[in-house]
Each structure stands twice: as structure tokens, then as C-alpha cells.
């Protein structure tokens, strides 16, 4: 299932009556994103911001018809059940916001998504935005949107929620805009890694280049390098990888995100940069260099 939702995509919101979901709902709607139903067990019959709430996903679909995806605001320990329910109801695009989802649940979710031929963005996804398609899902850029985001041709894929917007801001300050921007989360087993999304962007006419924000830990940057080398990712990628200072601290410390941890020599930012450079990816040493590298790579 494609992660590149169409304009006018119909979505449901699971757990949308909760603290976080109910704050995000009006923001998504005001951007033009279509949230056609909400699901919270026991809250069926409620209407929130004009959106009908149902007890189960299948009930919601029976009433509002087929949907393009679900955005899940369930708390971390309920996330797996919410994902299962959506997949079993035939929904094949999910964006999962909860942070601190146990790794075992993430592994099960990833396996289930594969079996259902579905795509999951997250857990720990701050959200996704595509200004041209009027999509703003999750928490991303729900405040001060215009400060950081303008429509454009650059995709931003980030392990960090707040850096997604900081990179969009840097691009905007340099007269560049975003096609897609999303947080893929910094967990050990994300449903979508950089490469999963970059591969889809190969077929996206709006995106001319991408920026990836990586950090210490994991091997997702290495996979990007491999696919670029093989030519399977052909559009230009600019990478910005942080976390050098952590080498001064004890090992096996987790920095903010569950996957941001160095074990042995794996996951060192400098190694990631080296591997990416060798594959032909442009690597920014400083945040402020990103826009220039993007412009350079679009021209080439």
C-alpha cells in the first residue's frame, strides 16, 4: 500500500477522543484533511468537531464507507490492539503517534503489516504533512505551520519530530518548500524507515530531492546508502546525521529515542556519514548547509 496518500484521502482517527487526539483533530480538519470518523471503544455515538465517533473500526467503515487510512492516537500499551483492529478491518495505511511502544509490540505490528500488505508510519511518528495535498496528519506542525512550512519540491524524512519542522524552516528561510514532511520515529523497529519512503518518492512527480535527518544508532542510514549505490533510489538525497557528542558519554545510553543508542561501534554518526558519502549521498556537516546541498543536487 502506498504511503503517498492522495489529496482528499479519507481517514479515520483511532483514539481521537483522548487528550492528544482531541487536540490534533481540529488542527487536521482546519488544514483540509478529511477525518471522516473516529473510533474509541465505549464512546460510540459521540460527535466531536462534527466527526462521528464509533466503538469499533468495522462499525465506522460500515457507516462511512471505505477509507484510505487511519491515524492512531491510542496510548502506547493499547497501540498494538488498535493496529490489529485496523488491519483486520482492511485498512492498509496507518500512522501511529504513540511514543514508548514496547519493542515486542512493534515487531508484531511490523509482521502483521507485512502479512496484510499494509504500511505503517511510526510508532513515535510526529505526523505527516503535504501542503499541496492538504494533508496534515498527527501532531506535526499543528502550531505556527506557516512559520516553517511552504509548499515545494523537497521531501523531509526525519527520525525526530521537532527536527522535521526545523529542517522545513531552514528550507523555507532559503526559499525552498516541502512536498512531503514526516517523522518516522526513532524507535528500534519502525514501520517505515527512510528507504521505505524514499523508494515511494521515486514515483512522486512533486518531489525532486529529499532530506533525511538521522541520529546515532540503528542501520537505516546504511540501508539508504546501499539502495542509492544500487540505483534503486535515484533522486538526490541530502543527509544530516547528529549525535557526535554522545561518544563522550558512557556507551549503551539511550538518547531520547529508543533506537538512539550506540552498542559497540555500530550506529556511530561518523560511520553513517562515511557510508552515505561513499554511496554518493550529499552529507551536511551543519544544519545550515542543507539547503545549499539540496539546491546543488537539484541543479545537477
Amino acid at each position: 500500500m502506498s504511503r503517498l496518500l492522495r489529496e482528499g484521502a479519507k481517514l479515520i482517527g483511532q483514539g481521537i477522543t483522548g487528550f492528544e487526539g482531541s487536540r490534533a483533530l481540529p488542527r487536521m480538519l482546519e488544514f483540509g484533511t478529511q477525518i471522516v470518523a473516529g473510533v474509541t471503544p465505549g464512546k460510540g455515538g459521540l460527535v466531536l468537531e462534527g466527526v462521528p465517533i464509533f466503538n469499533t473500526v468495522s462499525e465506522a467503515i460500515n457507516k462511512v464507507g471505505e477509507v484510505d487510512g487511519s491515524v492512531i492516537f491510542a496510548p502506547p500499551l493499547r497501540t498494538l490492539d488498535a493496529v490489529k483492529e485496523a488491519l483486520e478491518a482492511g485498512i492498509n495505511f496507518l500512522l501511529v503517534g504513540a511514543e514508548k511502544v514496547p519493542t515486542k509490540d512493534e515487531a508484531i505490528m511490523y509482521q502483521l503489516a507485512k502479512e496484510h500488505h499494509a504500511s505503517i508510519i511510526g510508532p513515535s511518528s510526529v505526523g505527516l504533512i503535504n501542503p499541496r495535498r492538504k494533508l496534515r496528519i498527527g501532531f506535526l506542525a499543528v502550531a505556527k505551520t506557516e512559520r516553517a512550512y511552504q509548499e515545494g519540491e523537497v521531501a523531509v524524512i526525519s527520525k525526530s519530530g521537532s527536527m522535521t519542522s526545523e529542517i522545513a524552516l531552514h528550507l523555507k528561510n532559503n526559499n525552498l518548500g516541502v512536498s512531503w514532511a514526516l517523522g518516522i520515529g526513532g524507535d528500534i523497529i519502525p514501520g517505515t524507515d527512510f528507504s521505505d519512503f524514499l523508494l515511494e518518492l521515486e514515483n512522486d512527480p512533486q518531489s525532486k530531492a529529499s532530506v533525511i535527518f538521522g541520529e546515532l544508532g540503528g542501520t537505516f542510514e546504511e540501508r539508504v546508502a546501499k539502495l542509492v549505490k544500487e540505483g534503486r533510489i535515484s533522486k538526490p538525497v541530502v543527509a544530516f546525521i547528529v549525535g557526535d557528542f554522545t561518544t563522550k558519554l558512557p556507551k549503551e545510553v539511550q538518547f531520547g529515542h529508543a533506537g538512539a543508542i550506540i552498542e559497540g561501534t555500530r550506529g556511530l554518526p561518523e560511520n553513517k556519514r562515511k557510508i552515505l558519502r561513499e554511496a554518493g549521498v550529499k552529507v551536511a556537516d551543519d544544519l545550515d548547509q542543507i539547503a545549499a546541498l539540496v539546491k546543488e543536487s537539484i541543479k545537477e
Binding site: E20, R23, P76, L77, E99, K100, V101, P102, T103, K104, A107, Y110, Q111, L112, V126, A141, V142, A143, K144, R147, A148, S158, S160, G161, S162, M163, S165, E166, A168, L169, H170, N173, G186, I188, I189, P190, F213, E215, L216, T219, R223, V242, G243, D244, F245, T246, K248, L249, P250, K251, E252, V253, F255, G256, H257, G259, A260, D286, L287, D288
Partner: protein, 390 residues
């Protein structure tokens, strides 16, 4: 959370996996009941303790007490030894290596098995088996008893482990499988599924927490709203840092160091913590001597964080810290932060006259803000006579 060997072995034992007869001791006057010959093992979280005197084989029961006394209180890989494990020495015919962990590349649990077990083997031939978390017994190695593997896998999933490593796993002369070591890492995210657990808090391998680090951790333990202080480390620089958001914090620290600044700490607060928590964290980062600047750094496009609340907490924290430390903070405070209610917040800060505050906005990137901070801190250090003008 990483478990000490003795804690890990208890989990193995209760999962039906054999471990040697053993006893845990915190002082050398306790009587040793385990029969000699024994292995005395320092309980530290870091690996490779054998090479630095953390493991001793004692054949003569007369010498056990003195060996224990020697080991207790020693420092091994920067960790103080507070407990030793005394175990019966097991004779075996063959040693194996077994571990289960999550593999980001496979995005699945992976079981690794090697016929070359034991320590000191850097390059062992390991076979990897990708495990389907929904049917974990489908793809298992041969050459090892299936029943044992099932027990280990059960334990891994039932206890929400991130890592379960048994090295060596030995086959004894009488054909029994025994775990001679255990390295278990539990998933903190799943903690609330295991309310019966009582493992005390601990530092990370190869590190003994400083008092400030312990104090900082308490902030989150006492109040679950947002995070503040869970990730805190002392560094030896002179710029106190309060940063927000995982990715921004890492970016900011790299940028500050690249600009020539020297951070006095690493910490992070996020998820809209209430004012009281920001106050506490502010006091902690300013409790160190010789601070030449405070850097408050976060995204200027926060999604839900109430910037007015959070920066009010900062000012309150500064004032309380001044009182408690009976001092006046004259160092520069450089702030770059934005999001909901930031107009009000910056308006409020402009009226604060008791600190030397510099306000930066969306036109200033994190890297540029780092340069401003470095420059201001340097000027202040020079003015104090702590640094010579070039």
C-alpha cells in the same frame, strides 16, 4: 534496564533453565554456603570483567572470604563492585553462545547461536535465525535442545526483554544444559506490564552516576507529566544547557561543540512538562560552579508545548537557584524557543531585568544560536577573569 548477572540468572532459573548453585554477597563476613571449588564474580553491568580481575576461580575454601573481600569495593570498568556472586564451578564438555535480541535491519527478533561459546572470542561464527514474533518456534537452530530454546524464547517474550544473552551456555559432562552467565536487558517501555518487578534503579554500564545525575532522574520519577531530567549527564564544560526534544538536543549539542563551546551538561526535557519540573531541572543545571552561560534551546515550531509555561518555569528556576545558592547569576542566558504562546513568553522575558537574557527567534538557526551562545559565554568568562582575552 540492564540486569546484573545474578538478577538475570534468577529470571532464567524461574523459567526452568539450569543455573549453577549460587549465592549473592554484599559483605565478606557472610558465610559462604556454596561448596568449593567456586567461581567468584563481581556484579557489574559492563562486560569483559574477566580481563580486569572481575572473575576468580577459588579451589580452596579457605581462600574464598579473602577473595570476596578483595573484590568488593573494587572499581571495575568505572563501576564500583557492590555485590559478588559465588557460584559452584561447573565442569562441562562444550560451551555455546546463545542470544536473542531485536534486529533493526530485519525489523524482527533474531536468535544468534554459536558453537564457540565463552569470553575472549571476538570473532565467533554465529548463525542467525530471524524469529517471527507471532510464531517464535518455527525457525530454530539444530544442535541444541529444542525444549531449552523454547524456554529461552518464552522468557524473552514473556519478560519483554530487549536482549537475552547466555554466554557461555554449556553442556555438562552429564549432558545437562547450564547457563554460566546471563546478560538481560529489559524493555523500559513495557515496565507497567510487570508490576511485580522490584529491580532497584541503576546507572548504565561502565558508569557510576553522579549526585546531580541521580537528582535529575528523580524529577521524572516523582511526576509522570512530560519528561525532564531522565536523560541527564554531567560534562566538564562551562555552558549549562537546557534543551528540548530528542533530535533537537543532539543537534544542539553537536552544534555547540562545533562552535567551540563547552557544555557543562547534557539534558533534555520534552512532552510539555509542567512548570514545576522545569524549575527543578533549571536548578540542577545551574547547581555547578563556574557556569559562564545558560543555553535554552529547542525548536521554534513546537507542536503542543506551552512555551509561556515552560519559559516562566525557567525564570522561576533561575530565581530559586539564586536563592538556594545565595548568588547572583550574571552570565548570559541565550534562549531560542518557539511554539504555542511564544509571543506572550517573549514579551514576558523582555520585561525580566534580573538576568542577562538574549532572545533568538525563527530567523536564527540552531547552529547560529550555538555560535551566539559560545561567543557570549566567552565574553563573560573573559570579563570574570576566568579566561584570557586573545
Amino acid at each position: 534496564m540492564i540486569l546484573y548477572e545474578f538478577e538475570g540468572k534468577q529470571l532464567l532459573f524461574h523459567a526452568g533453565i539450569n543455573i549453577p548453585n549460587q549465592q549473592i554477597l554484599e559483605t565478606s563476613d557472610e558465610e559462604v554456603i556454596v561448596r568449593s571449588p567456586v567461581v567468584v564474580k563481581a556484579q557489574v553491568l559492563s562486560g569483559k570483567r574477566a580481563a580486569v580481575g572481575g572473575i576468580a576461580i577459588v579451589e580452596d575454601s579457605e581462600k574464598i572470604q579473602s577473595e570476596i573481600a578483595d573484590m568488593l569495593g573494587q572499581t571495575i570498568n568505572q563501576e564500583k563492585v557492590e555485590r559478588v556472586l559465588v557460584e559452584e564451578k561447573i565442569a562441562y564438555q562444550k560451551a555455546y553462545y546463545l542470544s536473542i535480541s531485536y534486529d533493526g535491519e530485519e525489523r524482527a527478533p533474531v536468535l544468534s547461536f554459536s558453537k564457540e561459546g565463552g569470553t575472549g572470542i571476538e570473532e565467533r561464527r554465529v548463525e542467525k535465525f530471524v524469529i517471527n514474533p507471532m510464531s517464535p518456534y518455527d525457525n530454530l537452530p539444530s544442535g541444541i535442545e529444542g525444549e531449552l530454546l523454547e524456554k529461552v524464547l518464552n522468557l524473552f517474550f514473556a519478560e519483554d526483554c530487549l536482549l537475552l544473552e547466555i554466554n557461555p551456555l554449556v553442556k555438562t559432562n552429564d549432558g545437562r544444559w547450564v547457563a554460566l552467565d546471563a546478560k538481560i536487558k529489559l524493555d523500559d517501555m513495557a515496565l507497567s506490564r510487570h508490576p511485580d518487578r522490584t529491580f532497584p534503579p541503576r546507572s548504565v554500564p561502565g558508569h557510576t552516576s553522579t549526585t546531580t545525575e541521580i537528582e535529575a532522574k528523580k524529577i521524572d520519577q516523582e511526576d509522570y507529566r512530560g519528561t525532564a531530567g531522565s536523560a541527564y549527564f554531567d560534562l566538564d564544560g562551562d555552558i549549562a544547557v537546557l534543551s528540548s526534544g530528542g533530535g533537537v538536543s543532539l543537534t544542539a549539542m553537536d552544534a555547540l561543540i562545533a562552535a567551540g563551546g563547552k557544555p557543562a551538561n547534557f539534558t533534555e526535557y520534552s512532552g510539555n512538562p509542567p512548570k514545576e519540573k522545569v524549575v527543578k531541572l533549571t536548578k540542577i543545571v545551574l547547581s555547578k560552579p563556574n557556569i559562564h552561560g545558560l543555553w535554552v534551546i529547542g525548536t521554534v515550531v513546537a507542536n503542543f508545548t506551552d512555551i509561556y509555561e515552560t519559559l516562566s518555569g525557567l525564570i522561576e528556576g533561575l530565581r530559586e537557584a539564586e536563592k538556594e545558592l545565595d548568588t547572583k547569576f550574571k552570565f548570559p542566558v541565550v534562549i531560542r524557543r518557539g511554539g504555542p504562546r511564544d509571543d506572550e513568553a517573549y514579551q514576558m522575558l523582555k520585561e525580566v531585568k534580573d538576568f542577562d537574557i538574549y532572545l533568538l527567534g525563527p530567523e536564527t538557526s540552531i547552529s547560529q544560536a550555538a555560535k551566539v551562545m559560545q561567543q557570549k559565554a566567552k565574553e563573560y568568562a573573559i570579563s570574570q577573569g576566568d579566561l584570557e582575552d586573545e
